[in-house]
Amino acid sequence: MRDPAPAAVRLDAPAAQRLDDRRRPHSRLSRTPNTMAEKSTVSAHTAQSAGAFELKTSSFTLPVIRLFDADLEALALRLGAKVEKAPDFFRHTPVVIDLSELVKRQLTIALAPLIGLLRSYGMIPVGVRGGTREHAAAAEALELAVLRDAPTRRNAVASSTPAEPKTSAAPPKPIGPLTIADHPPTQQSDSAFMLITKPVRSGQRIYAAGGDLSIVAQVSSGAELMADGNIHVYGTLRGRALAGMSGNLEARIFCHDLQAELISIAGNYRVSEGIPSELRRVPVQVFLDHNILRIEKL
């Protein structure tokens, strides 16, 4: 067997991608890939046919095929070897094609044969991301979704459009309607790190886009902290804290005195009632352990 081009393809198995992104341009909720939580009910209550269906957004973890080479033959060989090892894994598996590396290397690829190749291995290509405008047009012609770029580029996108409401990074379902506050004094960071030295009062929202949020003051009940990274509170935390907003399962919440109304990491949340009393009013860290939210004394 001929040795294929070195690393012609790489499978990012657990990288997630949202399927429904571009299809619903009005959805403000679907900007964050990776979150496991169901986001919110969009219009179930308003439609007359309320009983007929329910429109919801939810996220899925999909394999992403990142292409490093436009050579289809090499790709076919390499992929064939992968599929041979674990045929069940690929059978009827929706996959996303990531073209960003190809664009960087100024290579171009014909999508139609690539799709055919993937289908021949039993995969169901559902969308592309990171391609050029031509790629996007080709994908649309093939009835594939054009998905957002990887989260690493979110920052740039976010900071260039500050007027856009930050509700995009929506917290999990039960608090959805409440967080879209009348005129939230949301603060946004330009850098990946954000430091707040004044008390965060009831009704205030702070979102550290793309990074960590540190607070060296108290956080009142009714206040809301959000960060794509970790959240540190060196004071009493009485409000809500949502870390890993863009789906970072490694994000943690550290706090000096936990009296929070709600804590959440990457959409896995727990309300005040669910926090054992021995973990309240003590320094703790909150993290995900196999998708289960854990609170541990520090």
Partner: protein, 269 residues
């Protein structure tokens, strides 16, 4: 240049107008040229508490709309020469307040007075927003109960993000806490939040603790700011508050239930 003080709370019925009346009277009695403005358009109350309801001709909204001059609308207090009252309109609503008009009136007043006390309406809507927007200092009036504390906290958030000082990046509004309707007996029983409980949540500079007192209601009904009732505990507590606001170091009183001594038991009992 006058210092603008807003008396605010979020929640209604906690004692904002009583406090505005007491503070403005207290400042004026110390010789400070003071004007107190009622921002509660449509629910005019300050004139009643100040006892000048029979002398209202023009009001704040007339001045904003250039229907009268400021001097025509200002009512001089009969008890204290350096105190003026600018009443609210009872026939209009809060929408009659607009930022430019309020700013113009405040700027005009600022040249002639030392302190402008703004009595905010309850809520966090337009009227309350107008009252706090130009403030230099804020006195947040809070009752020792959880809903009042939370509303105050919300108000503090608005002050720190939506006031003119916050929006223009100046030194932030100085925030003070005033606890009113404090009942030391009920606090001792555990039926009411203590000063420490409230401070734990709000962590603000404590300007004063006004005890629950019958004197407040009777003073309001009589149209006399309670601070003039030097016999009453509430009047004295307001006096202390004014002194503290002006920088005096006055210890807090009325925080603990009165211990009845042997003599008082014998002679009063």
């Amino acid at each position: 240049m006058a210092r603008i003080i807003v008396i605010t709370s979020g929640k209604g019925g906690v004692g904002k107008t009583t406090t505005a009346a007491a503070l403005s009277m207290g400042l004026a009695q110390r010789g400070k040229r003071t004007v107190v403005i009622d921002f509660d358009v449509g629910l005019r109350n300050l004139d009643l508490i100040m006892g000048c309801e029979r002398r209202v001709v023009y009001d704040f909204i007339n001045v904003i709309n250039n229907e009268s001059t400021l001097n025509q609308a200002l009512i001089r207090d009969k008890r204290c020469d350096s105190l003026y009252i600018l009443p609210a309109s009872q026939t209009r609503d809060k929408d009659a307040l607009h930022k430019d008009g309020v700013e113009r009136v405040l700027t005009e007043l600022a040249d002639n007075y030392d302190f402008i006390v703004c009595d905010s309406p309850a809520g966090i809507e337009h009227g309350a927003y107008m009252a706090m927007y130009f403030a230099d200092d804020a006195i947040v009036v809070t009752n020792p109960e959880v809903s009042s504390v939370r509303d105050s906290d919300r108000m503090l958030g608005i002050l720190s993000s939506r006031s003119k000082r916050a929006e223009t990046g100046q030194e932030p509004v100085r925030e003070y806490l005033l606890l009113t309707r404090y009942d030391p007996l009920r606090v001792a029983n555990g039926a009411m939040l203590s000063v420490d409980d409230v401070q734990d949540i709000l962590s603000l500079r404590l300007l004063g603790v006004i005890p629950e007192s019958k004197a407040v209601l009777s003073a309001s009904n009589a149209g006399i700011p309670v601070i003039l009732d030097r016999e009453s505990d509430a009047g004295q507590a307001y006096g202390d508050m004014v002194a503290r606001y002006l920088g005096d170091d006055v210890p807090h009183r009325f925080l603990h239930p009165e211990k009845k001594g042997l003599f008082s038991r014998i002679f009063k009992g």
